[in-house]
Symmetry: C2
């Protein structure tokens, strides 16, 4: 399901970056910031920052800028992370476990309620204080607990089948870490396909480009 | 260091997506594809696909489209992943270990040569067949081995100090998973700051938007 809001995907994608920038400013003891100040930290233009934030009703005052705490609170509200979201992890391999360890540290109101796996060694144990159940217990669990979000970290071969099962059983949001693109347009479910390697490839590209440029400069200097 | 190439960051960011799309097509036994076919799978327009690929000298033939294997090979060359890159992991906690496990499976010519950590329980062991050395051995290692890329996965508090140390010791590329934005503009090093949570926040935003839209529809139907 695609969500139409009149807000571009690029703007949505920038909101977490604004939030991170504001959190850093707050940690540094800053109470206000200009659009130019935000823009510089994020490599954007001031007008882009003003435009993005005005889409959500946040206007900085001329000569004062934005109040850091207020803007941070607004963005958390817009993103929805001021409310608690119940999260399950399906597939508790190394990726699933790593996320379970790190997610609950972030203080962003994600409440890890359960993990599910098919590995008998894991079932009945706890991973970072979260109980791990058998995959067969998933339906009964979903019938009892309103889960907001599923972290999907099963093996690639199982990704589509498990995602379809989750969608059919009323999971409204899937954070898909399987590296298999999922499309579940027939269901009322939003999906975010995460591809860790994409950013490594981008980095490799930049590395090659930098090294080519340096080699050219060196040849010219000879 | 910023790499200027006359190619937009957005185009660069799309290359891994094109590659993934082509790999899926190849796995399905497809030998050719049109720009429209690629565009549909990636949610882009055909003209954007043609424009992106023409920037790198790949032109599909009218009525034939692109040869999947050829285009895949070109993109791998452009990204630089047709060559082998020597990789070290600095910080072998759960994130570092998870990546060590998954990176070498991908067949993208990343050669994991060593991990470094300060934990005495890890030093001298192997993680997924890669030896783990003491952080104190890092400089000597870099003097002997030409490392192309460092996966940085140390705790947040150490991120800036360790990154600076790596840059000073000639590491040309850092894949930064610490969730702390790094700027090392004074050094000939390219950095990719990865923020896992950004995509989770985007998903949460979409979830809230979808649920609001569904609630409105339900109210209207009453």
């Amino acid at each position: 399901m695609k969500v139409m809001l009149g807000v571009s995907q690029n703007t949505i994608n920038r909101l977490p970056k604004y939030l991170r920038c504001l959190q850093e400013l707050a940690e540094d003891g800053r109470t206000r910031v200009s659009s130019a100040g935000i823009a510089e930290r994020l490599g954007l233009t001031s007008s882009q920052v003003r435009q993005d934030l005005s889409r959500f009703g946040s206007y900085g005052s001329q000569g004062y800028g934005y109040d850091v705490e207020t803007l941070m609170r607004s963005i958390r509200e817009i993103l929805g992370i001021d409310r608690t979201h119940k999260v399950i992890v399906v597939g508790v391999g190394s990726i699933g476990r790593t996320l379970m360890k790190h997610l609950d540290f972030e203080g962003n109101n994600y409440e890890l309620v359960a993990g599910f796996d098919t590995n008998p060694m894991l079932i009945g144990t706890q991973v970072h204080d979260t109980p791990i159940y058998s995959a067969e217990e998933l339906n009964a669990f979903l019938a009892e607990t309103q889960v907001d979000l599923c972290v999907l970290a099963v093996p690639q071969a199982d990704a589509k089948r498990v995602a379809l099962h989750l969608a059919k059983n009323g999971i409204p949001a899937i954070w898909n870490l399987t590296n298999v693109d999922l499309e579940l347009d027939l269901f009322p479910v939003v999906v975010e396909n995460v591809h860790f390697l994409d950013s490594l490839f981008s980095l490799t590209f930049q590395l090659e480009a930098m090294q080519s440029a340096m080699a050219r400069t060196a040849r010219r200097a000879q």
